[in-house]
Amino acid sequence: MVTAEQRSIAAAAAGSTTPALDVVWEALSAVPDPEIPVISIVELGIVRNVAWNDGRLQVDITPTYSGCPATEMIATLIRERLAAIGVHHVDLVQRLSPPWSTDWIAPEAKTKLNAFGIAPPHVTRSRVDVAGISPLRRAAVTIPCPRCGSTQTKLLSQFGSTACKAQYRCTACLEPFDYFKPH
């Protein structure tokens, strides 16, 4: 089957450089998150919007965490991917508002995270109330082990291999695992 992206690459070779937005989305959906390569930057909710402005493609992206070191890598990967489909005039615009939330992670991406060994966020809404005092403390929740499924798990640290993940240990299979914190 010839995908829209392959058609676009063919079109780019023929000189066309303004593919339809669904082609752009498809291309961006092939950009993996540098830290968690099983899911794409689109599934993670980093790409907020794409639009053509006078022959230039504007891509709105939002950082997950303010200090996420992957942000610049993601910008590079986006430019490379778009160049591959013939789009060379790209304006990357950083959007801070509304702030990124784990609510934006696509449902199928949560399944992929679990299969990859990262327990996905367990709530569908942000736990952090911007207006009030943090309700996080003492909010005991059970995070199932992504390897064996046991609920006999224990929080080791609120910060794991990256700022967006906490570190847990499964007391059934004894393996440590990452947990993608609700944000």
């Binding site: 303010s66 996420c68 911007v130 609120q158 700022a163």
Partner: protein, 260 residues
């Protein structure tokens, strides 16, 4: 004081406080008591560094509005001398032992959360959007430092004594957090800055129950550093900041304009 000048100063206070504390937390990398804590401290530092970059980048934009030319976030972070930094003295205090690092974080995190919650309602949308993003990250910082204060305070005799000593030592540096000066005055009425004075009571209400649970005493001292408008927010620092900057700024000072 004109509004752009006040806003520039205010943003430096926010940005410098984040960047300096991030640098302090980064000093723990490779030295944490266990791997999880080493990583935790580095990640909190990374959040603060990210937030500090956003504040300093905005400060540069405001400086351009004010003077016609503004500095980049890197120029502000790496090419200013100590007396041009506007961070709280609290965050430049050395790491000390783990209790000292946690006491500093505990005092700061709770105040930081309250400040960001207030700034998320700022009339200046560029401030509000950074604060609304940062507050979600800081909620996790608050949880973590409170947990450590409890664990160490309600731990062994040794950990309790060290935690109490750290809280007492750093206490005089907390007054500055809730002080205001002409910079704040120029911005509070316009709804741009948060009135720091109004944050002290909620801060005490937040840290009190944690200290109770930790079997620790709230320090009682009335004397505070930086009184009379001569604190870190006005560019008056302890001897510790210069040493921190000499390490943080080394590369850009030795090789100006160096890029990765």
């Amino acid at each position: 004081m004109n509004k752009d000048e006040a806003l520039f100063e205010y943003l430096l206070r926010l940005g410098d406080t984040d960047v300096v504390l991030a640098q302090r937390l980064g000093e723990w990398i490779g030295h944490g008591p266990v791997l999880e804590e080493d990583i935790g401290l580095a990640n909190i530092g990374l959040d603060l560094l990210g937030q500090g970059r956003l504040w300093l980048a905005l400060a540069g934009e405001v400086e351009a509005d004010w003077k016609g030319a503004g500095r980049s976030e890197d120029e502000l972070a790496f090419l200013r001398d100590g007396n041009a930094f506007r961070n709280l003295q609290l965050v430049e205090m050395p790491n000390g032992d783990f209790a000292m690092t946690m006491a500093r974080q505990f005092y700061f995190d709770h105040a930081h959360l309250l400040l960001l919650q207030a700034l998320a309602r700022s009339a200046e949308p560029r401030i509000a959007e950074i604060a609304a993003k940062a507050v979600k990250e800081v909620a996790y910082h608050v949880e973590r430092s409170a947990d450590w204060v409890i664990r160490l305070g309600d731990g062994t005799d040794e950990s309790h004594a060290r935690m109490q000593k750290a809280l007492d030592t750093l206490w005089p540096y907390t007054g500055e957090i809730f002080a205001v000066d002409a910079v704040d005055d120029a911005l509070i009425d316009a709804g741009i800055a948060a009135d720091a004075r109004a944050l002290r009571e909620p801060w005490l209400a937040a840290i009190g129950p944690v200290l109770d649970e930790a079997t620790l005493a709230l320090p009682a001292g009335e004397w505070m550093q930086g009184r009379g408008g001569r604190g870190g927010k006005q560019g008056v620092h302890t001897e510790h900041l210069g040493h921190l900057l000499s390490e943080m700024q080394y590369l850009q000072r030795a090789y100006p304009g160096a890029r990765w």
